[in-house]
């Protein structure tokens, strides 16, 4: 082990755990400041997320969203691209899914609609990411700026579509009509009846998310395209030397990234809501950034980080319900702290851990 290097289990296990611990300690202090017992709060948080079937169901449901958006951000990361537009891509992807469901739900069973909905979500999400990707590749417009802007454009576009075009006649709520059975993804509570998922909306999209993790893992580490994406991300000059077109890789990577984000709608639009509604992405696109950072761009890490954020979402809601002084906003603060420590301050503890391991390893070498 040379200097400054950490064993993988430390890099991928101990460091994230330390970051998490720090986030929870600070959160605990905040809870103390507002006069509540932090251990009580933790108890409700964990119980709310994992203590009973319905809680688990919700945790998995949220985690499903984060897996899709986390993978989207991670794939772009591997090419050195910072895709902040997961939110907008997921939102527009939901439109593609909704259009497929609206077109097919009355004629075919859900399992016929499902693959087309996947294609619809992926194509629409990819299309939304294509423009920033193309502008970056051809014109050098910074992708961070353009993808952020495209989130706003997506939002405005969807408001227009939902309140003017997709809204069923005679209703006041800006959403599409409800899909019939042919546009509804089975809920796990109806599939695995032996386990009590309560009324939670976790659905088959969870398994789609896991499958997509495998696909992304294969793509990044086992295909020629993944090799090119990683080369380009790690050393653009070497990629040019190898004859890898920067324009092509930038555009293709953004298409894949957008498609992954677009799939998030399968979980919400086709799984939970069975209709398209305003702001269904609900910030999951941004959580995906933290998830990808915390998961170190690896699907396994992304699954674990998604579970954590799913836990915080669900447990947080439960906590706000059980201890009213800890409001919904407090939960957001706690989540923000986790994002802060796991994402922005990711490397804060690294020097200390590296120093610790250096001493440890030189001791063993001498012994």
């Amino acid at each position: 082990m040379s200097k400054g290097q950490l064993p993988r289990w430390v890099d991928y296990g101990v460091l994230p755990a330390l970051n998490l611990l720090a986030a929870f300690i600070i959160s605990g202090l905040v809870v103390v400041v507002i006069g509540e017992d932090p251990f009580e709060a933790v108890k409700w948080l964990v119980w709310g997320a994992l203590g009973y079937g319905e809680g688990i169901g919700y945790t998995l449901y949220y985690a499903t969203n984060f897996i899709f958006t986390g993978l989207a951000v991670a794939v772009a990361f591997h090419a050195g691209l910072f895709n902040i537009g997961g939110e907008g891509q997921a939102y527009v992807g939901g439109l593609g899914i909704a259009l497929v469901c609206l077109a097919m739900d009355r004629f075919v069973p859900w399992w016929v609609t499902f693959p087309f909905a996947i294609i619809g979500g992926a194509v629409f999400g990819a299309a939304w990411a294509f423009i920033p990707g193309y502008l970056q590749a051809k014109r050098g417009s910074h992708i961070v700026i353009t993808t952020i802007m495209f989130n706003f454009i997506a939002s405005a576009l969807m408001v227009y579509l939902l309140s003017n075009i997709l809204i069923p006649q005679g209703t006041m709520s800006p959403s599409s009509r409800n899909f019939e059975a042919g546009g509804q993804l089975p809920l796990l509570r109806n599939v695995f009846t032996s386990f009590d998922f309560g009324q939670s909306p976790v659905n088959l999209a969870f398994f789609l998310a896991l499958a997509v993790c495998v696909v992304v893992w294969l793509l990044i580490w086992h295909t020629k395209l993944g090799y090119e994406i990683r080369s380009f991300g790690a050393n653009p000059d070497a990629a040019a030397y190898a004859g890898i077109s920067p324009v092509r890789i930038t555009v293709v990577t953004m298409l894949i990234s957008g498609a992954l984000a677009g799939l998030m709608g399968i979980n919400v639009v086709m799984g939970e809501q069975t209709r398209l509604l305003l702001d269904f992405a609900g910030g999951a696109g941004f959580v995906g950034i933290a998830v990808a950072l915390m998961g170190r761009g690896h699907p396994i890490g992304i699954i674990l980080a998604s579970m954590l954020f799913g836990l915080l979402y669900q447990g947080g809601a439960e906590l706000a319900f059980e201890i009213p002084t800890i409001s919904r906003d407090m939960i957001v603060v706690i989540q923000a702290l986790v994002i802060l420590f796991a994402g922005a301050l990711e490397h804060m503890f690294r020097p200390a851990v590296v120093a610790f391991f250096d001493r440890f390893s030189s001791d063993t070498a001498e012994a």
Binding site: Y227, A234, Y241, A242, G243
Partner: protein, 553 residues
């Protein structure tokens, strides 16, 4: 007991002579140093500036420095030479406080000391000029020099003082420089001067230079050596780390040779020779002259006509260059770096688009003003060892086996459908590791962790084993140790013997002259002359400097 040794030298105390005898090899060195110099600077202070006794450092199982003893006389230029990975940089990092020795004693000016960090090194009068400059490009010379030593919250006073001090230093050591010039716009030679001034400004008495000439032109290097001599004559101590024998011979007073983490010898430069040092470095005799057998020259495999290349900023960097390279021939392109060689290689290899120019590659005509890419050129039988393996030739964080297919990853033998055939890639990588003696012999270590010579071998294996017709090779031995240099030169000669066309770009004249069949010289984007390998260094040097241009045409 280490401290006793030095005291005994200083005062010649009989009691301590007992210890003195027990460290024969060291005291002999010290005496050597003093005897050989006999200069006023040494005579006035007969303690060594630096003394290391039994310094060891290991990284896990790898022992980077083994029981190192080193004595550097005050006011001398001491060279430390060794192959890459011999432990030179580790030793210097210990001196500069980047690493901590596992055991051993460090003495500065005869006082046992510890150097926990670079701040402490600076406080003890040690200054370091890194191989890669630690400068802020948009800042002026003055701003760079005072960076981190501003002296007080308000910049103004510090700046005025620094300006005076900088002027004094520049006058004293003959290093004129415009304090208000923007560093990023200075040539590398002057940037390095800023680094030296930075160290002197912080009160350095001992100056460590890590491979200082790697980025310099020959004349810049000469100038650097003049400065080092002035510094020495003013009583400063200079430690010069290099793997270039010629520099050691040119500029140092004493030299220590490192091999595999050990200090194998110390010599007075005047009493040793390049051959002896080379042998000490690698532990066996090295053939410095390349064996260049007669090869029958065939038809041209690479023809370039009227090539013009503009860089990103719109500057014409290659101007109407034409040449041809025939089968079984090495065409050397000599020139001070930055005279269009890099742009020439980039355009020929398809990385950048030329403004105009035609190329004939193994009989196939190509218009270089059209878009090509590097992958296409490879399929047409041209491979390319780039000038800068870190920037271009390797993806440092990829494993060895992943780097072994860079640029060839689309070839059918490496893939199964859209997937990479990792078994096949690893198997071939293993074979190449064996064939090219890449050390350590592992396919899984990241490229960054290999030494320079082994990194270059990874690139070379990749570009030669694909059996190209034409090999473009830039700076093949930059930052590469002697053992590997010999190996690389032999591989190039093998390519020549196999009837390949080799285009060699190097700033090392010696290398160009010993490998090439013909030499063309580039200056300011133009080809200013062609010579045979028998051309003298002076002749080529003049062409490279752009003088005598008319005579060359």
């Amino acid at each position: 007991m280490g401290s006793v040794l030095c005291f005994s030298w200083g005062w010649g105390n009989a009691f301590e002579t007992v210890y003195f005898e027990s460290r024969n090899e060291i005291d002999a060195q010290v005496i050597d140093l003093i005897d050989q110099k006999g200069r006023a600077t040494v005579a006035e202070s007969n303690v060594p500036a630096i003394e290391l006794i039994g310094v060891s450092k290991s990284f896990g199982p790898v022992q980077a420095n083994k029981d190192i003893d080193l004595v550097v006389g005050k006011g001398s230029i001491h060279g430390i030479i060794g192959e890459n990975g011999a432990g030179k940089s580790t030793l210097m990092s210990i001196l500069y406080g980047f690493y901590h020795a596992d055991s051993g004693t460090i003495k500065i000016d005869d006082k046992t000391t510890t150097i926990p960090d670079s701040k402490s090194a600076i406080a003890q009068g040690i200054g370091m000029v890194h191989q890669h400059f630690m400068l802020v490009d948009p800042f002026t010379v003055l701003e760079n020099v005072i960076l981190g030593a501003e002296g007080g919250a308000l910049l103004k006073d510090g700046v005025a003082n620094a300006r005076r001090e900088l002027k004094r230093l520049a006058d004293e050591y003959d290093m004129t420089i415009d304090p208000d010039a923007v560093v990023g716009e200075l040539p590398v030679g002057l940037q390095q001067r800023v680094e030296i001034l930075k160290a002197l400004y912080r009160g350095a008495d001992i100056l460590i230079l890590d491979e200082p000439t790697g980025v310099l032109t020959p004349s810049e290097a000469d100038h650097l050596f003049r400065i080092l001599r002035v510094l020495r004559d003013q009583g400063k101590t200079v430690l010069l780390i290099t793997h270039k024998l010629r520099e050691i011979m040119d500029v140092t007073d004493t030299v220590s040779v490192m091999r595999r983490g050990e200090m194998v010898a110390s010599r007075k430069t005047a009493e040793t020779s390049m051959e002896e040092l080379a042998e000490l470095m690698v532990g066996r005799s090295v053939l410095l002259e390349v064996d260049k057998p007669e090869v029958e020259v065939g038809k041209p495999l690479l023809k370039v006509e009227g090539l013009n290349v503009r860089d990103d900023r719109g500057v014409l960097r290659v101007k109407d260059v034409s040449f041809e390279v025939r089968a079984g021939e090495v065409l050397g392109i000599a020139g001070v770096s930055g005279n269009g060689q890099s742009e020439l290689l980039a355009a020929l290899s398809g990385i950048t688009r030329a403004e105009s120019g035609k190329m004939e590659l193994s009989g196939e005509k190509l218009d270089l003003s059209e878009a090509h890419d590097a992958a296409e050129m490879r399929t047409k039988g041209m491979s390319h060892v780039p000038e800068d393996r870190h920037r271009m030739g390797l993806v440092n964080k990829f494993a060895e086996y992943e780097n072994s297919i860079l640029g060839y990853h689309r070839e059918p033998k490496y893939s199964k459908g859209m997937f990479l055939n990792k078994d096949a890639i690893r198997k071939e990588a293993k074979e190449r590791i064996e064939k090219y003696d890449i050390r350590p012999p592992t396919t899984e270590m990241t490229a960054a962790k290999f030494s320079g010579g082994n990194q270059q071998k990874i690139v070379l294996a990749r570009e030669i084993e694909c059996n190209p017709d034409v090999l473009l090779i830039g700076q093949p031995t930059r930052g590469v140790d002697i053992g590997a240099i010999e190996y690389i030169h032999n591989r190039i000669m093998d390519m020549r013997a196999q009837g390949k066309a080799v285009l060699l770009v190097s700033v090392e004249l010696e290398e160009i002259r010993s490998l090439s069949d013909r030499i063309i010289v580039m200056f300011d984007g133009n080809v200013v002359g062609e010579r045979g390998p028998e051309a003298t260094e002076q002749d080529l040097g003049l062409l490279m400097a752009g003088v005598n241009q008319e005579a060359a045409e």
